[in-house]
Structures are given as structure tokens and as C-alpha cells.
């Protein structure tokens, strides 16, 4: 809120300079963000917290200054003189919806001459960021800016009968507001009406029909309290926030309404030559709960962590206008003033004491801590280990939004996945869903790097994904690790040219990460069924029935849809699933005493036969000793069909006790060849 220093000084005569006053307000929780000179005035931009509606007016801030600098507030000016027919005989007021309007008051001022305001009014309004309109409208703005009580002025002679009726709008009722817009109303909105039609949107904005004009001579002043929630709903529904609605939404001081009327009458007499009518029409059904509070000194000591002493506590409460009464040396009884709705219970008073003494008075003390050092949880440990492994592979840790655009993560999750969780209030349209995969964000980051000319892009992220539960309730939030790899498979090296990254690079990292985090985990690999991945260059890994990881090259159609400049390889591991896997401790076994032997087979494998199938057949052949297999060469191209690849598989036999004879080994090799041909139609390469 913009605050005029000269106005503050007029309400509370403090000698201190602008900077000192700004520091004092800031120290009391009314942060002065900025101060600047406007003409001969200094203007503070004060950040008023939501629980201090009283400080949305200069008087509220002046009360704080009075407490801070121990300067008594001068009394309010004398009431303006009154004459003519009393207000309650000239106008009738009905409040049909007291649940939305706890208090409604009206006063009348006759014989005003609408015209320009004097310079001091123009300057005050200017300091507070408002433009002078005319002396009547300006008077109501001065009241709002001083007392934080919005008031509204009607041209009395334009009100039918003259009657004021505070009621809910009829469905579809129409009101043209002061800004010239025609508003269609609904019954959850409160209006001020005359005998015929609505003339104002309660607490939000007045109507054009009854606004003050140059010809206005008689004015009806409205000062009221409206239900904060109702004003908020109306202002939101019609998208019309005003200085008035801002204050009504935070709650006005029901007891301050009469003073607001008085100030308005005074200003209309002074600025516009009007004569206030005697009396006030006051329809008051506001509840006034007893708010006597007890502040115990031992609670002050406990919550603040030091003992300010009974005298300091008492004088703080006194300075804040809380009228403390000592309670047999144990504490104080106080009755908060009506303008402090934030003071509801004892802890609020403890804060008041600290606020008045200054938070700098609170000493600094390190609480005693238990002598047992913490150990990282299982989750924390696997996350840290995963980071270390991926960093070791040359990946850099990235950090992306947890939200994605609608449908953005669809191709990255199985079709059977629950739909993405939709946010009620997204920060942007393209961040409206909670992610179910880390990959969309990582792919975007990889693409950005490629476009900026980075040749070898390796990024990873460890973070949560969000899965709705079919039975409802809070979502599952498993921790995943994902990574993307594009460009070179390795940095430039003098040993030779660098390959472009391929599927087996990214799959190798998957297996290395799993082996590192959960050693000796048995993994079953199969083709991945994700729309985002290239069907021939992707895989998924399972263990103990859990899906653990997926990796592959982005599908060419997705790549062109995302307009990616290069092929990108991706992988994602479910760390929460890994945590459920057993990882047995290793046990030593006796080392074999005889050497291992090996035989190589060069075979031609059709593209549609997965290597896992080849391996299954090889492992099913009875061997004269424990056997293992690995691929030592792969060739595709000249001399082969386009849908074929030549693999050289090395089979190793490790006898445990006695050496094997050549005929035993050759018989085994022949059986391998026979089985591959018989079961998979695979031939030996000649």
C-alpha cells in the first residue's frame, strides 16, 4: 500500500526522519519495501500483512508509530455541525440479508456543491496513487485511506422513494457499474438497491445511475460491514477487484463505522460546503464476541525463549492500546481493541510483546540436540548412490518441473497407466498435469542443449513421479531416475573417432546402475511397449515381477513431432521398485583349480530373433561343465541379407575339478550348433 508520510505525521506527530520511521515500521512487521519523494511528501510502499486490515489505513499505521515512538495520538477532530431534517426521517434502510451485511449505516449531507478539491486533498491522493475526481468522491477516498473503511456516496435525489434495501440480487438482474460495464448478477451477490432496482454492488463498486454528478446537491453516505467471503466471491466472479473490495475481504472494524461516517460528513462540510443531517440510520446485527484474553508470563518466557520481565510485557501491551490489567503477578488480562481482529488467543499476544520489544531483543540459543547422529534412510541412500553412479558415467544432474502439458507424458507411460493428475490452479497452461515420467522434461532439456551446440549431451534427474490410485486418495509418488543421452557416445579422444551413442550404450548404463544399487539382482529383459520408443531399439527390465527400468531410442515419429534436431536415447529406472528387491550378501565359494576353455560360434541371426532367445537355446544345451556365453562381435552389411546380423558368440566352460577333453568340448559345440538350427533356424556363418 502506498502511504503518505506527511499524512502519517498529521495523525501522529513524530519527529523522526523518513528512514527512521521506515525502519520502525519494518521492525514491527509492516515492511517498507521502498520509499520515494513525491513533491514535498515522502511515499512509503508498505507491505501490509493479510492479518492486519487496520493497517490498510493511515490511522492504523499511525497507531503503530505512536507505540514505536511513545508519542500519544492526538484526539480525533470535533464533529461537524448538523442541521435540517434528521436522516432517519428522510431515508429508510432495510437489510434483508443480515448474514451478508452485519452492519449498514447511512448519513445524509445536504447542500453540497460538487467541484474540484483543494490542493492538499489532491496531493494526499496523489501520494497514495489516486487521481482526484471531485470533492465528494475524493472525500470518500480520504476516509478509506485514513480509516481503512470503504464508504460509498449516492446522489440522494436519484434514489427512488428514497429507500435503501440491502438484498441478494435477483437471478439475471442487471447493474451498470461506475466503470460503465453492464454486469449480470446472481443471487449469491449482495446488492444495495433502492425501491426499484440495484444501485450498487455491495462492497465492490457503485452503480452508474446514482453516482455523484456535477448537479448533485444531496448526498447519502453509506458505511457498512459486509461478509468478507461474500465480497471475495462477488469480486472474483465479476473480475472486479477494487480498493474497497480489498478491504472488505480482509474485514473492516465494525466499531469504526460511525467514525468513518463522521469523517465523511466533516469532509463534505469542509470541502463541498454541505450540511450534515442530524442522526445516523444504523441497522446493526453484528455479533461482538467477548474477546478478553489472558497472557501468562510463563507462556511469554516459554514461547520467546527469554524473560522480558513483567514490566516490559505490561508496557508493551499498554503501548499497543490493549489496556492490560495485571493478573496477580502471573500475567495480564487484556481486551483487544475492535480494530485488531488478529488478536484471538494468547500466542497472538506473545507476538505483540515481541513485536513491540523488537525481534532483535530475542536472544540466540542453540537447542540441545540428541547425541546420536542420524543415518540416511534407505530412500535417501539409494537416491544418493544413484546420483553418484550416473555422475560417474559422465551425466550431469538436471532439475525439471514436476508438471507437464496435457498429454505430454502419455507416450512415456504404459497404456494401462492411470491418467495424469490435473492441477486445479496450474501456473501455466503447459504445466497443468503432474508428471508420470521424468523423460518429457529431460528430453526438452536435451533438445535445448543440442540446439545450443553441445555435442555430447548427458543429463539425468532423480525425482518423484505422480500416479493417481484407482481407489482414489492421495497419489503414489515413487522416486525415479531418468537420463537422456544424445550426440557422441564418448568425449573426443586421441585414440580414435568417437561413435554416436546407441541403444546398447544406454541399456548398459541401466544394467550398471541396477547392479551398483542392488548387486546380483536377476533381471529379465524384454522388448519395451512404449509409444515413445523405437520398437526395435528399446527394452524393459523386470525383476521379481516388478518393472524396474525402460530404455531406448526415441521413436522417429515422436522425434519429428517434437522437432528434435538429433536422435535421443532415454532411460528411466524406478528406484522405489528397486528398494523392494532383495540384494543377497555375496558368499565365497572355492575357486576352480583347472583352467576354463572356450569356443567361438559365428552365427547369422535374423533381425526378428531377440538375442535373449539365442541365449536361452544356448543355455538349454547340456554342457560338460558350467557354461557362460557372451557376444564378442557383431556384423551387418555386405554378404548378409539386410534383415540379418552375424554374431560371434563365445561359449566358456569352467570345469570344477578335472580338465575337459577335446572330444567332450567339440561334442558340446556341435550340440550348440544343432540346437540353434533346430530351434531357431539359425545357421553357422561360413
Amino acid at each position: 500500500m502506498l502511504v503518505s508520510l506527511s499524512w502519517l505525521r498529521a495523525l501522529c506527530p513524530v519527529d523522526a526522519g523518513a528512514s527512521e520511521i521506515a525502519r520502525a515500521l519494518t521492525a514491527r512487521g509492516l515492511t517498507v519495501d521502498d520509499h520515494l519523494s513525491v513533491g514535498s511528501d515522502t511515499v512509503f510502499d508498505v507491505d501490509v500483512p493479510a492479518n492486519r486490515p487496520d493497517c490498510l489505513g493511515h490511522l492504523g499505521l499511525a497507531r503503530e508509530l505512536a507505540a514505536a515512538f511513545a508519542v500519544p495520538l492526538p484526539p480525533r477532530p470535533e464533529d461537524a455541525g448538523v442541521a435540517g431534517e434528521p436522516a432517519d426521517r428522510a431515508v429508510r434502510v432495510f437489510v434483508d440479508s443480515p448474514e451478508l451485511c452485519p452492519r449498514y449505516t447511512a448519513r445524509l449531507v445536504r447542500g453540497v456543491r460538487v467541484g474540484p478539491s483543494p490542493p492538499w486533498v489532491v496531493e494526499r491522493l496523489q501520494s497514495c496513487g489516486l487521481r482526484s475526481i471531485n470533492n465528494v468522491v475524493d472525500a470518500s477516498n480520504l476516509v478509506l485511506l485514513e480509516l481503512s473503511q470503504p464508504i460509498h456516496t449516492f446522489d440522494l435525489d436519484l434514489l427512488d422513494e428514497p429507500t435503501v434495501r440491502v438484498r441478494r440480487a435477483a437471478p439475471g438482474e442487471i447493474l451498470t457499474t461506475l466503470d460503465g460495464a453492464e454486469r449480470t448478477l446472481s443471487p449469491d451477490m449482495l446488492v444495495i438497491a433502492d425501491a426499484r432496482r440495484p444501485v450498487a454492488l455491495a462492497g465492490v463498486m457503485g452503480g452508474a445511475d446514482t453516482e455523484i454528478r456535477d448537479s448533485t446537491t444531496n448526498v447519502l453516505i453509506e458505511a457498512a460491514a459486509f461478509l468478507p467471503a461474500a465480497v471475495r466471491t462477488t469480486a472474483r466472479a465479476l473480475e472486479m477487484k477494487s480498493d474497497a473490495s480489498h478491504r472488505f475481504e480482509r474485514g473492516v472494524d465494525v466499531e469504526g463505522i460511525v467514525e468513518a461516517q463522521e469523517m465523511a460528513c466533516r469532509l463534505l462540510a469542509e470541502l463541498a460546503g454541505g450540511t450534515p443531517a442530524p442522526g445516523i440510520v444504523d441497522v446493526d446485527s453484528a455479533s461482538r464476541p467477548e474477546r478478553a484474553l489472558l497472557l501468562r508470563l510463563d507462556r511469554v518466557r516459554l514461547l520467546l525463549g527469554f524473560d522480558p520481565g513483567e514490566d516490559s510485557v505490561g508496557s508493551a501491551l499498554q503501548a499497543l492500546g490493549l489496556r492490560p490489567k495485571s493478573d496477580s503477578g502471573e500475567g495480564f488480562r487484556v481486551v483487544p481493541p475492535s480494530w485488531r481482529p488478529d488478536l484471538q488467543r494468547e500466542a497472538d499476544l506473545v507476538e505483540e510483546v515481541a513485536r513491540h520489544m523488537g525481534y532483535d531483543a530475542i536472544p540466540s540459543r542453540l537447542p540441545p540436540a540428541p547425541g546420536v547422529p542420524g543415518v540416511p534412510s534407505e530412500v535417501r541412500a539409494i537416491v544418493e548412490d544413484c546420483r553418484d553412479v550416473l555422475t560417474g558415467f559422465g551425466f550431469r544432474e538436471a532439475y525439471t518441473y514436476s508438471m507437464v502439458a496435457e498429454g505430454e507424458d502419455d507416450p512415456f507411460v504404459p497404456e494401462s497407466s492411470p491418467t495424469a493428475i490435473v492441477l486445479d490452479n496450474p501456473i501455466a497452461e503447459h504445466l497443468s498435469r503432474m508428471r508420470r515420467s521424468l523423460l518429457p522434461g529431460l528430453v526438452r532439456s536435451a533438445d535445448l542443449n543440442l540446439r545450443r551446440g553441445t555435442a555430447d549431451v548427458r543429463l539425468f534427474e532423480v525425482g518423484r513421479i505422480f500416479e493417481a490410485r484407482p481407489e482414489g486418495g492421495l497419489p503414489r509418488e515413487p522416486i525415479h531416475a531418468g537420463w537422456v543421452w544424445a550426440g557422441a557416445a564418448a568425449p573426443l579422444h586421441w585414440g580414435g573417432p568417437s561413435r554416436t551413442v546407441g541403444f546398447h550404450d544406454v541399456a548398459g548404463v541401466v544394467e550398471a546402475v541396477v547392479e551398483s544399487l542392488r548387486p546380483r539382482t536377476a533381471l529379465a529383459i524384454s522388448r519395451a511397449e512404449l509409444g515413445a520408443l523405437h520398437p526395435g531399439r528399446s527394452a524393459t527390465w523386470q525383476s521379481e515381477g516388478y518393472s524396474v527400468a525402460t530404455a531406448g531410442e526415441l521413436h522417429p515419429s515422436l522425434r519429428s513431432r517434437l522437432d528434435l534436431s538429433e536422435s535421443i536415447f532415454v532411460a528411466e529406472i524406478d528406484l522405489s521398485a528397486l528398494l523392494r528387491l532383495a540384494s543377497p550378501e555375496p558368499r565365497n565359494t572355492a575357486l576352480p583349480r583347472v583352467p576354463a576353455v572356450s569356443r567361438d560360434l559365428s552365427v547369422v541371426v535374423p533381425e526378428d530373433v531377440a538375442f535373449t532367445r539365442v541365449l536361452e537355446v544356448l543355455e538349454s544345451v547340456a554342457a560338460p561343465a558350467p557354461a557362460t556365453f557372451c557376444v564378442i562381435d557383431r556384423y551387418a552389411g555386405k554378404g548378409l541379407q539386410p534383415n540379418e546380423a552375424a554374431l560371434t558368440v563365445r561359449g566358456m566352460l569352467q570345469p570344477l575339478e578335472k580338465s575337459l577333453t577335446d572330444p567332450e568340448i567339440e561334442a558340446w559345440r556341435a550340440e550348440l550348433v544343432r540346437a540353434l538350427h533346430a530351434q531357431l533356424g539359425i545357421r553357422i556363418r561360413s
Binding site: T26, G29, E351, Y359, R365
Partner: protein, 120 residues
Amino acid sequence: MADLKGTLEAVWKRFFGDAVRTRLRPGYFPFVEPGCEYDISCRVCDGSGCKTCKGGGWIELGGAGMVHPAVFEAVGIDPEIWTGFAFGLGIDRIAMMRYEIDDLRLLLENDSRFLAQFPA
């Protein structure tokens, strides 16, 4: 509040170095009472006022306070017996201050050249 202040001081001295000072200011958060915002002395000018701290010498880090008795009551804890303090901070803001990062967007872009400056 004294325990809270001591803890915040210890945390930020450890994170930003022994020269750093911590300040509490009254502040409103519905879940703490008394509530505060906390600042640390500006690391660029050491509190004398500069562009980074907009001349004030202090930089706001987050909110804190004593757990509001209504929060304890809502979870069935007796606030007459138990008190507690709470504090929050913006993790990206801390990183920005420590590493002199002037644009929040850099943290979410994941440009490899940016990330390479912060090896694990």
C-alpha cells in the same frame, strides 16, 4: 523463538560462512505464532547496502515461527505441553545466492555448460 534464532544462525553460518548474520522480523504466516520472516546479511556488501540487497543490507530468505497452537490442536497435540518451531526456505533462492546465479530460469533450463560449473 530463541532456539529458532540460534538454529537459523547455525545453519546459515555453516552454509554461507561465519561472517553471515541472521535477523528475524515480525511476519505473518497463518500456521505460526509468533511468526517471522528471516533475513541474512547481504553477502555482496556484508550488510552495508548494495544493488543486490536493494540498499537494505539484508536479504530475505524465508518464513519461520513457533508452530501455531491451532496446528497442534488439529493433529491432537496439546499446545500447553508442546511447543515447536518451524522454518522454510526456497531452495533455488539459496542456490542463487551461494553461487551468484542471477536468473532463476538457468536452474530449470539444464544447459550443460551451466551445469558443468557445479561438479558434484
